[in-house]
C-alpha cells in the first residue's frame, strides 16, 4: 500500500498537470509554435521516432561513457587524496580551485583541441561529473567516525582489510551522493557539448528543430532527453539499493519517520 502510494501520487499529479496543460492550450488558443499541446508533442514524437531514437543512442553513449570515465578516474584519486597527506596537500587544493572554472565556458576549446567527434563530448561530460564525484568521495573517506577507527586499529587489521571492511563501506553513502549528482550533470554536459559543435545527437537535433521553429519536435526531443536522464539516475539508485540496502532503508525511515 505504502509503496503503491509513493508511485501513484506523483504520477497522478503529473497526469493532472498534463491535463491542465492540454486544456489551457486548446481553450486558450495558444499558438502551436509557442507551446504545443501534450497530445501534439506525442504525435510529433511518434512521427519523428526513428530519427530521434538514432540520435538518442549517440547522446546516451556520450553520457554513459563520460560518466564511466569520471567514476574510474575520480574514485581511485579520492582514495589517494584521502590516504596520502602529500596528495591532500598538493593535488587536492589545485583540483578544488580549478573547480570554480565554469566548465561549460571552456567547451568550445575542446572542439578546437579534439574536433567535433566523441572526444570533445566525453571530455565535457567527464568534467561535469568528475568534481562532485571526487569531492563527495573524499568527504566520505575522511568523514569516518574516529572511534570506529580506534576500534579497528585495536584489532591489528592490516591496511588492506581496514580499507575493504571499514573505510570503503563507510564512505559508500557519500560516494553514491556524488554519483547521483554526476548522473544529473552528465546529461547537461552531453547536450551542451552538442550545442557547441556537432553533427549528431539530441543536442544537435534540438538546435535544428529550434531553428526551424518546430516547437513540438523540440519538446519531443527534450522529453526523450529527460527520459535518458531518468534512466541513468535510477540506474545509479538501483545499484545503490543493491550495494547499500541498510542505507536506503535508513534514509527511508528517517524521511517517513516510520520504523521498519
Amino acid at each position: 500500500m505504502g509503496r503503491l502510494r509513493t508511485i501513484a501520487q506523483p504520477l497522478g499529479l503529473a497526469f493532472a498537470v498534463l491535463l491542465l496543460w492540454e486544456a489551457a492550450v486548446r481553450l486558450g488558443g495558444v499558438p502551436d509554435y509557442l507551446l504545443p499541446a501534450p497530445t501534439a508533442i506525442l504525435a510529433d514524437l511518434a512521427k519523428r521516432w526513428p530519427r530521434i531514437l538514432s540520435n538518442a543512442w549517440v547522446t546516451g553513449l556520450e553520457i554513459v561513457g563520460g560518466f564511466a570515465v569520471a567514476v574510474v578516474v575520480s574514485l581511485p584519486l579520492a582514495v589517494g587524496i584521502a590516504f596520502s597527506a602529500w596528495m591532500a596537500r598538493s593535488i587536492y587544493p589545485l583540483i578544488v580551485t580549478l573547480q570554480v572554472v565554469p566548465k561549460i565556458a571552456i567547451a568550445p576549446i575542446f572542439v578546437i583541441w579534439f574536433g567535433i567527434g566523441w572526444i570533445s563530448k566525453l571530455t565535457l561530460v567527464f568534467l561535469l561529473c568528475f568534481f562532485p564525484m571526487l569531492v563527495n568521495a573524499v568527504a566520505g573517506f575522511r568523514g569516518i567516525n574516529p572511534e570506529i577507527m580506534d576500534f579497528a586499529r585495536s584489532t591489528g587489521a592490516n591496511l588492506w582489510r581496514l580499507f575493504w571492511r571499514i573505510r570503503l563501506p563507510s564512505a559508500l553513502p557519500s560516494i553514491f551522493t556524488g554519483l547521483r549528482i554526476g548522473a544529473v550533470n552528465a546529461v547537461t554536459g552531453a547536450v551542451v557539448a552538442e550545442f557547441v559543435a556537432s553533427d549528431r545527437g539530441l543536442g544537435y537535433l534540438l538546435l535544428e528543430y529550434n531553428g526551424n521553429l518546430l516547437a513540438s519536435a523540440v519538446f519531443a526531443t527534450v522529453f526523450v532527453l529527460s527520459a535518458i536522464g531518468l534512466i541513468i539516475y535510477y540506474t545509479v539508485e538501483w545499484v545503490e539499493r543493491l550495494a547499500l540496502p541498510w542505507h536506503v532503508a535508513q534514509r527511508r525511515s528517517e524521511t517517513t519517520g516510520e520504523q521498519t
Partner: protein, 270 residues
Amino acid sequence: MSSVPIRLAGASKTFRRDGQTTEALSPIDIDIAPGEFFAVVGPSGCGKSTLLKMIAGLVSASTGTVTVAGNAVTEPVTDLGIVFQSPVLLDWRTVLGNVLVQLELRGLDTAAYEPAARRLLEAVGLKGFEDRYPFELSGGMRQRAAIVRALIHDPPLLLMDEPFGALDALTREQLRLDLEALWLARRKTVVFITHSIDEAVLLADRVAVMSPRPGRIERLLTIDLPRPRGLAARQLPAFTGVVEEVTRLFLERGVLQTTGNLAVELGPQS
C-alpha cells in the same frame, strides 16, 4: 593466560596544537594486577579517556612508559576488547555482522565463532535481533551489541570508556550486574572509566579518583565489599562510606558544589 597486568610509570600526555601545549595528563604511576577490576572516576575533561587510550596504545605517552602484559606499548594493543561511550557500530552490518567483524578484522574464522556470538547476544537480551541493522535498535540495544563485540574473541583485557554513560538508569543497572557476573566468571583485567561514583564503587576492586586539568590521580581507594555485590551492596555502610569520601574529595576540588547555582534571575531586565 586469561588476564594481564598493566603498569604506567610516569606516563603523561601533552597535546600540541597551533604552537600551544595543553597538559592533558600529569605523570601517572599505576600498577594494575592481572584480573583486577580497576575503575577510574573523574569529572569530564580530566583526561580519563586519554588515560584509557594510552593503555590501548591508541594515543602515545608524551613521557614515561605504559606496559601491558609485560610489553612496552608503542602501537595499538590488539589483545583486548574496547567499549566506548557511543556504540560505534558499523551502520552497514547487522548486529551479528557487527559482532563478527571483530574476528574478520583479526583474520579469524568467523564461522567457528558464530555460535558463541549468538549465545552472547542472547545473554544480553538481543535474541531475535541478530539480523537487524543498528538504526533499527534502541541506544541501549546498540551498546549491548558493542559490548558483545568487545567480548567475542575472549580477550584477557577489557577497556571500557564510560560504556554505560549514554544509557537510561535501568539498562545501566542491568548491564552493571551483567558485567560483574562476567568478570566473576572470567576474571579478565578490566579498566573501567566512568563519571559515576556509584558505578565505580559498585564494580571495582580499586577506584582511582582523578582531578581535573591537568588530570592526575588524586586518590587510590581499595573497595572492600563482598562479591557479588549485585543490587544489595548500595545499602552497606562500607559502600556509602567510600561514596561519601569520593564526593568530599570532589567538593574540595571544586568539581562539586554543595549548593545549586542555577537559581538566577530570569526574564528581561526592566
